[in-house]
């Protein structure tokens, strides 16, 4: 095999999920009437913003060789915190700040802070006390959702302050600002993972924790930061969720966790850690969203989505194994 074909093949393997996304979009555009229009594509991006942001945090922790099941509940708690403070009906307190725009940074900070605190809690137990990430974050997944129920009393908050709602309504080049926030998150965190020592260290910790420790990398510190980031990013996802639904309900975002897992795995992140990139995860998120949109357009019952997502995850894992064999042959 000459170097050029080898290079081309590696390029395809590295970005396989993007090729899949393009392939799926082309097939849907050809087969489903009305699929091929800018509005639909904008909708795919828009619908994936909350899931996308949440997947970033999850991907960071998985790449570092751990796991965070709590992101969904954390997002719900952040959304509920924002909802209770800044919604004017339901259980909302309708807090007003002057000037109005001040509510944006305050609500954002609150959401991120709530997520960050739970991230610190998870990170401390997992890293310092060496407990299993799966168990600790499973516990958080349950008790944080419980906390949402407790603080809301099972009721909901509606009518988010217009100053915050503005992010979901105002459009820039056809996309609401919330979608741009998600895209910006992907760009920023992709750069952090690919270009900074911190990102490089997370990948290496996921690959061989002992080696990084021996090399003098502060493994514990990096891992705790990863968990805090996952929590804070989940908080941001909750903020976007509150804007999207103009409030918060007690069961807000239920099921997002498994979609996020699906997106991360489809995006090429290995659950064993150390493998995967954030652009791939974004492609995975868009792929899920594109398929959802197709199901809606074809008028299939929404119940099909779960079946298809499940099969897609299965396909992604099989594809990953297949990619490994090809790579070994290349080397």
């Amino acid at each position: 095999m000459n170097p050029r074909t080898r290079h081309a093949l590696e390029l395809i393997l590295d970005n396989l999920v993007w090729f899949m996304l393009v392939f799926v979009l082309v097939v849907f555009s050809l087969l489903i009437p009305n699929y091929f229009q800018l509005g639909i594509f904008a909708n795919i991006i828009e619908a994936s913003s909350v899931l996308g942001v949440m997947s970033i945090g999850l991907a960071l922790v998985i790449i570092a060789g751990h796991m965070d099941l709590s992101v969904e509940s954390v997002a719900a708690l952040s959304a509920m915190a924002v909802g209770i403070l800044f919604c004017s009906s339901g259980i909302g307190l309708g807090v007003q700040l002057h000037p109005q725009w001040l509510m944006v940074p305050v609500s954002l900070l609150l959401a991120v802070l709530v997520g960050g605190i739970i991230g610190v809690f998870n990170g401390f137990l997992i890293v310092r006390l060496k407990m299993s990430a799966f168990i600790i974050t499973l516990a958080s997944y349950i008790w944080v959702r419980g906390l949402v129920l407790v603080v809301s009393g099972g009721r909901s908050a509606q009518d988010l302050a217009p100053a915050i709602r503005w992010f979901g309504i105002q459009r820039l080049i056809g996309l609401p600002l919330t979608a741009w926030i998600a895209i910006a998150c992907f760009v920023v965190f992709s750069l952090i993972m690919a270009k900074t020592p911190f990102g490089r260290h997370l990948v290496m910790i996921g690959g061989n924790e002992t080696a990084t420790f021996r090399a003098g990398i502060r493994v514990n510190r990096n891992l705790i930061i990863a968990f805090v980031l996952a929590g804070a990013i989940a908080g941001l996802a909750g903020w976007l969720l509150a804007i999207r639904t103009s409030g918060a309900t007690a069961n807000l975002g239920v099921g997002l966790l498994f979609n996020a897992f699906a997106a991360v795995v489809i995006g090429g992140v290995s659950l064993k850690g150390g493998v995967g990139t954030l652009p791939g995860v974004y492609a995975g998120v868009l792929l899920l969203s594109a398929i959802n949109t197709a199901i809606n357009l074809m008028g299939l019952p929404a119940n099909f989505t779960q079946v298809i997502h499940g099969l897609l995850v299965l396909a992604a894992v099989l594809l990953d194994a297949f990619k490994q064999t090809i790579r070994q042959r290349l080397a």
Binding site: M204, R214, G216, A331
Partner: protein, 254 residues
């Protein structure tokens, strides 16, 4: 040799009720190659980990460059100038050769105040280091998982030669190497020692120890069973020290 580089003074290590090291005392000079020999379970790897900051001793003290020394983490040992090559390789196979070579000490440049990896500068350094050592690896950008065992060990060895420091600890460094690569590895050790760096090499192979070491230290059941200059002993004598048929050196009998 005036002042020794590292002095171990009655270092012990207990794992619960088990005494892995019962009081180890010896010293390493600058530019000296010390071969650490001993049967399986004699405590060689434990000793290396204590010097390298992976384990803390139960009692005893160490002097590094004349000063009291105790590394609580590998990072501290590294900061003091102690490099370690472990027998189970310390490579991240999921990243490329360059990333492994610079693990934990990446070259960065500031972009808007944020440290950003300077990949080109790092690749140049690695290319030069590997070329100097005569190691051929097709692409420095291939992930280490696709490289052979010999190539991986070569990366580790080149890494310690490049970073040098003041003291190098090698725990069975040639386990996966072929004849020619081992010879080159031994040359590397000599070359490193000639720069005034102290070298401790753990090995099972008597021939390697006699090829490269200035001094041979034998550990048996957690104590120093022999500490002799290479040119004043013979492989047979050393084997006797390892198995305990004779007690030729310092250290209390257990």
């Amino acid at each position: 040799m005036s002042e020794p580089l590292l002095v171990l003074d009655n270092v012990t290590k207990n794992y619960g009720a088990i005494q892995a090291l019962k009081g180890i005392s010896f010293s390493i000079g600058r530019g000296e190659v010390v071969a650490l020999l001993g049967d399986n379970g004699a405590g060689k790897s434990t000793l290396v980990k204590i010097i390298a900051g992976g384990l803390e001793p139960t009692s005893g003290r160490m002097l590094f460059e004349g000063k009291e020394f105790l590394a609580r983490s590998p990072a501290e040992a590294k900061a003091a100038g102690i490099e370690t090559v472990y027998q189970d390789l310390s490579l991240c196979t999921n990243v490329d050769v360059v990333a492994n070579f610079f693990m934990g000490r990446e070259i960065t440049r500031k972009v808007l105040g944020v440290p950003v990896l300077d990949e080109r500068a790092m690749e140049d350094v690695v290319a030069k280091a590997l070329a100097n050592a005569g190691t051929r690896i097709p692409s420095l950008r291939t992930n280490v998982e696709h490289l052979s065992g010999g190539q991986r060990q070569a990366i580790e060895l080149n890494r310690f030669v490049h970073w040098g420091g003041k003291l190098v600890l090698l725990d069975e460094p040639f386990a996966a190497l072929g004849v020619e690569q081992t010879r080159r590895g031994l040359d590397m050790i000599r070359q490193v020692a000639n720069q005034g760096i102290g070298v401790v090499i753990i090995t099972h192979i008597m021939q390697q120890a006699f090829q490269v070491a200035d001094r041979i230290v034998v550990i048996r059941q957690g104590v120093v069973a022999g500490d002799v200059a290479r040119n004043k002993t013979s492989p047979d004598a050393v084997i006797n020290m390892i198995t305990g048929e004779t007690l030729a050196g310092a250290g209390p009998a257990s």
